[in-house]
Symmetry: C2
Subunit: 330 residues, 2 copies
């Protein structure tokens, strides 16, 4: 048995998991996310130490550590475009983390081969996790969309992660699907992220509430339009509120346009929906599948592409980082 | 020296080239494109025979034949979505061509190993051609857009053609970049093909002519708005007509939105512009590069992706089919 350590760096917490090559969670822990580059390195070392301590005698089975970050990760391990964790911008994390691991714990892996050290985009890690241990198992060509505050993603082509020339591939949230849509922090208008993310759901719901078309959602938000969040829409939809379900349908239509674009370019065997909003389950999936059936021309001449929920939930990034550390995904 | 035969099936002609593994054109010929499935097979055999006859003693160096078709090509060699050559729809060309080659010329490759027989989408072939012999040489990750009446394309990822789960990948012309755009034959609205192809240039020009903003273009079309074609815009732009150049700029903006979307997903090391409209050269390329610089957020944190003209011109598809027959591209 080999064990990989997977660290998923989020906006407030680092989730750290030790995972076997069979996909079993051995131990896990959380540490606070850092606000400065130097503390990021300390936090990564802290999370690694915590996992190693929890593993006890199993520590000798560790073959590497993977780190997922909410940034574009260059092939050299440096980070770009990190709106949710600006401390990471431009940081050559891989080299720095390797150096710090060596400083803090020389001979950490004494007697064993050097640990494999991998840094990658968090959504790319999630795709690796689903491929190794989740809903993408057995597929060669996969698109994962992680739908949360924003939209990230990962692409698997011919059984391997699609990385591109500089390691930036798979940014499915920043395809423009409506140039007259809302401005995106990336500088363009109408990115998929602005039209089909959890934030988009909240914005769509606030618009509907203002127009008097989202009574129950507004009620759950205490009657304050500005307080309307995605979770209020989800709660109302779970109660069966038709207006809330209509809001999901609008979001799902936007999502389906983006998915159909990705299918044209990538022709995946399966499309996975993950991220925080995937917790909505069928409330998100069913209208997305229905809207995609309208958008997908492939469904006319050949079998349509299945869209399914990702399986690893909030641990997808950490499990994927561990899968990369284990060398299970190329 | 090995020779591959490459057949590029167009709407009116089949271009047939015999190409060495060093990318040299040995002989070429053209035969009429067929209008029925049965005649397609005859035409493919006819083109193959014509090349073999022209090759003379070099025929013994032939290792295979590749066929590029204006259709989606399933992994089993059957064809879908062939609007410009409806005769191909649903046809299992690979098996049928192999059988016909065998019937018509048993022992064609007597004494040698069996010919490699490859059928693929014409734009995918063009990407293979540019990778083996043209502007994509030395790159691992490439996007080619072939801009003609429509927009096709091919994607190279990690040095290999991106084929997807069913062989349909790379349909870059059918990503929706403006849902309020013109309807596409594929059933969606505002596909890149409807906004940035040669047909789109003509449509944009007719609109401008109607509005009195394309005087020289209209003059070249004999004063008849309905007669305005892309070649009139090109001719006027070559004369330096500012209104015609503005039409290219509008097309280039649409194209750049699509290219930026593809860059987000695929992170290529180079983007190639090929197809008939690429004959416009700098008139198309310069405004596209300028518009892309606005759309491309990668250019802020890292080096922007170069957009360059493809090199193989109208022979790209045939050369690429030959490259596939030669086994130069996987």
């Amino acid at each position: 048995m080999a064990i990989g350590l997977g660290l998923d760096v989020g906006g407030t917490k680092i989730l750290a998991c030790a995972v076997t090559d069979a996909g079993e969670l051995v131990v896990e822990t959380r540490v606070d996310s850092p606000r400065s580059p130097d503390r990021l390195l300390s936090a990564l070392v802290e999370a690694t130490d915590a996992l190693v301590a929890l593993l006890g005698a199993d520590r000798d089975s560790v073959v590497g550590v993977g780190v997922g970050v909410p940034s574009l990760v260059g092939s050299d391990g440096s980070l770009f475009d990190s709106p949710n964790l600006p401390a990471l911008e431009g940081l050559p994390v891989r080299a720095a983390f390797a150096e710090r691991l060596e400083q803090v714990a020389p001979g950490r892996a004494a007697g064993a081969a050097r640990w494999r050290l991998v840094i990658d985009n968090d959504a790319t890690c999630a795709a690796a996790g689903e491929l190794a241990f989740g809903a993408a198992r057995g597929h060669g060509d996969v698109v994962l969309l992680t739908i949360g505050t924003g939209i990230g993603g990962g692409v698997i082509a011919a059984g391997r992660l699609l990385r591109g020339a500089r390691g930036f591939a798979g940014e499915v949230g920043h395809i423009v699907v409506d140039p007259s849509g809302p401005p995106c922090h990336c500088g363009r208008n109408g990115c998929l992220e602005q039209l089909a993310s959890g934030s988009a759901l909240a914005r769509i719901a606030r618009g509907a509430a203002l127009a008097g078309r989202a009574g129950r959602v507004l009620e759950l938000a205490g009657g304050d339009v500005d307080a309307v969040r995605g979770e209020h829409v989800l709660a109302a939809a779970r109660e069966g509120d038709p207006a809330a379900r209509e809001l999901f349908a609008e979001l799902a239509h936007n999502l389906a346009v983006g998915v159909a674009n990705l299918v044209e370019v990538l022709d995946p065997g399966v499309v996975l929906i993950g991220g925080g909003l995937a917790a909505a389950g069928e409330l998100l999936l069913d209208p997305t599948v229905a809207a995609f059936a309208v958008e997908d021309r492939r469904g006319r001449g050949a079998q349509s592409v299945p869209i399914v929920l990702a399986e690893l939930g909030p641990r997808a990034g950490a499990f994927g980082a561990a899968a990369l550390a284990l060398g299970l995904v190329g």
